[in-house]
């Protein structure tokens, strides 16, 4: 987890996520701007009501998340960053992912946080399975 670098907290876990934990992880006296992104389970997708949602991850998920974090830290003037993702069975309103980046200035913090969540979504091996109110289901991301 924390290793003394700018990467303060990375985790993929079954327990409910805490925004406070993530914000505390990126707190730093040198930070002038902190951006946090919170992804939550939505009650609707593609016009259908969502009843339940399950996330699962590949065993290499921690390494992949670290690779994403290291790239963000290398490409932006980041003071501290953190990213946590939940796996298991979630319900509408649950936090699925929380990422935060602190920088000296807000512009860098916005850009770095944007890259952190976008790269996490596209390259970290996590899968999402949705069950709808009409009994149908789908694996998100499969055309």
């Amino acid at each position: 987890m924390a290793d003394g670098s700018v990467i303060r907290l990375l985790a993929v876990r079954e327990q409910p996520l805490s925004v406070d934990e993530v914000l505390a992880a990126v707190a730093d006296p040198a930070a002038g701007g902190t951006v946090v992104f919170i992804g939550t389970v939505r009650d609707e997708d593609s016009g259908k009501s969502v009843d339940a949602l399950g996330y699962s991850a590949h065993p290499t998920v921690d390494d992949a998340l670290r690779t994403v974090a290291e790239r963000v830290a290398a490409e932006h003037p980041v003071i501290a960053l953190a990213a946590v993702h939940r796996v298991g069975d979630l319900v509408v309103g649950d936090l699925a992912v929380v990422v935060a980046v602190s920088c000296a200035h807000r512009g860098d913090a916005f850009a770095a946080a944007r890259q952190l969540i976008d790269d996490l979504k596209s390259t970290v091996p996590i899968w999402k399975h949705q069950t709808f109110g009409d009994g149908s289901d789908e694996w998100v991301g499969l055309p």
Binding site: H85, K121, V124, I126, H129, G141, L142
Partner: protein, 80 residues
């Protein structure tokens, strides 16, 4: 020809109805095609969108398999 283990993840696991099985083939592409033929159109469709790891490294269809390797079938990621 080489034999080894195929490990299915997420949508591919659901479509195959199992988490792993044995394979017998020379290249990744030949094994993937055989899996689609064996399990039917739904898995074949999913396989068209998957990436593949062989012993942990991402490889393409032309990859020449060696004896005892593990192929992992990874559907598109959808975190967040």
């Amino acid at each position: 020809m080489a034999t080894g283990t195929v490990r299915f993840w997420a949508a591919a696991r659901a479509a195959a109805g199992k988490s792993e099985q044995a394979y017998d083939g020379a290249t990744l592409g030949s094994v993937v095609d055989a899996l689609g033929a064996e399990h039917g159109p739904e898995l074949a469709r999913i396989l068209g969108h998957c990436s593949f790891l062989v012993d942990g490294a991402r490889v393409g269809r032309d990859f020449q398999l060696s004896q005892g390797e593990v192929i992992e079938v990874l559907p598109p990621f959808a975190g967040g």
